[in-house]
Symmetry: C2
Subunit: 352 residues, 2 copies
């Protein structure tokens, strides 16, 4: 078992006691940091940054230099898998991710195949290995992927959407084709996450960013069923240590109990559900990660501290809470508010 | 009491038996109808359409000519109230609503005053009266307003937002100012809705479009408390007939029981919560309106009918259900799918 100086994050995910509440922030390496913007500029494009193991390693470590965060997360994009499937990921300035070849025709869907992550996604595995070396046992490294439903949203819509009508129309009109996309994508995600674990990721997280846009019945059929297959397929131990897994369906609070039964060690919560109520619902089944509204970080440091304490109070005594935001950090966040947040979470005495 | 040929909508809102399930669709007068696009073009702009009682009446009636809908809804915008407060509503092409003078400074907030709806919003009252005359007792007319929180989002952000960080930062940093905005806006909304009732609206609905972007604690403090004040201030009877009220917090499923206790007759549901589960939670407190995913209307007519039946089955036997979408109808909806939907809802035998 390799050295790990700070295992509070891994222990909290497994609902084991920790001396304080571990904290990390979704998108903690990102545009709110001037040093990130500088590296991003040097890389030339967001995608070039993702695809360079050295630069991805550099930005992954930037927030850890500033703040006493308890985990690092691989710098990458959730859409690497469909990109490796040949859909042609690109970023139009100010418009978010797009695919050059979205799935439009039945034959395109039938031709989908899961990539070999050690070949087509070699650059991700190289970044994972390089970040692990650079972290040198200080804090654990989180690997991640988008969920099959979330990937399918982009693959069918061709980019972001505010109504998901193309992918939903496909799901309702041709569920057979939708399930084929989800089946192949699930195989690809399992292989991708296990390859990240093999390369050195010490925990993994599945981002189901758009699961919350579905009805309950459609969520169970088109997202949750595939999340459960991923949980069942994940490597559970590596290097003598358990590799915890986290699932996060943004907007999934209404289905929390079903999500807690999907087979992951921990469930991410957005900020709409009171975390104390969430804990009462999931009981001892899973740990919880969350759930401060990221907009709070755009308020005053005093408000940040007060709202962070509200989340900690709502969760209650140890164990089983990883503090995080309920969504990615805003690019407009003043870095000093992040410092105030991390300090307040670490200073909080859960059992007082 | 004036004549009303079809009172199924009003009766269902009051949880009284009806021979079939009434149905109307949020944004039923809109861009998916070619005749709407034609009138809109003739008006010159969306705002000119809203502000012309004759044209607003014309488009309000268009969907009723095509489909056997059980209610008409005033054609207007949710932002008429802050416009009448002097913020200067305008629509930038393809960008949604904006305000020329969003609330930026403390003195601007302190200067806010509730408009007299019979003066500054006279054009709305004229439209209500003209539509009532044109409907001639066929189906009831719904009046509406945005909720105080939703109006405040636009008033502070100056337009749509994908993170609401300005209005939330204000709420977290200066709750006193936020409550002042919400207090004045609540007075304005109550007066506005009561003026619509006086002018002829036979039911009223409050659209809390952005309440679901808040944490639970913030929702209760900044949205629900003001919704309850609106419910308490509404005219309850007019022309010898009860005037039912509906509240709709998009994304509010997690807080359904609290919303059901706010004092409205009915609660609108988006499509993320199973309506059978919602009914079990609210019991006999309120009627429910909803909750088909509007994206279903972009699928095949067969899928529309199957998913509509799923909602009707989930709700179960009479009474207390008004069928609707879980959000406004998409501009990309084929009108023939709406025809299939309305027919399927009316043909469904709840008590079979």
């Amino acid at each position: 078992m390799s050295r790990l100086d700070n295992d509070t994050f891994l222990r909290a995910l497994l609902r084991q006691p920790t001396p304080y509440t571990p904290v990390w922030l979704m998108r903690q390496a990102g545009r709110y940091l001037p040093e990130y913007r500088e590296t991003r500029k040097r890389a030339g494009s967001f995608l070039a940054l993702c695809k360079s193991p050295a630069l991805a390693c550099e930005v992954t470590l930037q927030p850890l230099t500033r703040f006493a965060l308890d985990a690092a997360i691989l710098f990458s994009d959730i859409l690497t898998v469909p990109d490796a499937m040949g859909l042609g990921l690109y970023f139009a300035e100010g418009e978010g991710p797009k695919f050059e070849r979205p799935l439009r025709e039945e034959w395109e869907i039938r031709n989908l195949a899961a990539p070999d992550p050690t070949v087509e996604l070699r650059y991700v595995m190289d970044a994972v290995a390089e970040i692990r070396r650079a972290l040198d046992g200080s804090v654990p490294l989180i690997g991640f992927s988008g969920s099959p439903w979330t990937l399918a949203c982009y693959m069918v819509e061709g980019g972001s959407s505010d109504d998901y009508r193309k992918v939903k129309a496909l799901a309702y009109t041709r569920p057979d084709l939708m399930h084929h996309i989800l089946d192949v994508t699930t195989q690809a995600v399992v292989a991708y996450l296990n390859a990240q674990i093999e390369a050195g990721a010490q925990a993994v997280m599945v981002f189901d960013s758009w699961g919350g846009t579905l009805s309950e019945a459609a969520y169970r059929e088109f997202s949750l069923a595939y999340l459960a297959r991923i949980a069942a397929g994940l490597t559970r131990e590596r290097d003598g240590r358990r590799v915890p897994s986290i699932v996060f369906t943004k907007g999934g609070g209404l289905w929390l109990e079903a999500i807690a039964d999907a087979g992951f060690d921990a469930v991410g919560l957005d900020w709409t559900m009171d975390i104390g109520r969430a804990r009462a619902l999931v009981g001892e089944r899973v740990a919880l990660q969350g759930n401060l509204d990221p907009a709070v970080l755009c308020a005053s440091p005093e408000a940040v501290v007060a709202e962070a304490r509200r989340v900690l109070d709502a969760f209650g005594p140890h164990p089983g809470h990883v503090f995080n935001l309920g969504h990615g950090i805003s690019q407009f966040t003043p870095p000093e508010n992040v410092a105030a947040l991390v300090e307040a979470v670490h200073a909080y005495d859960r059992d007082a």
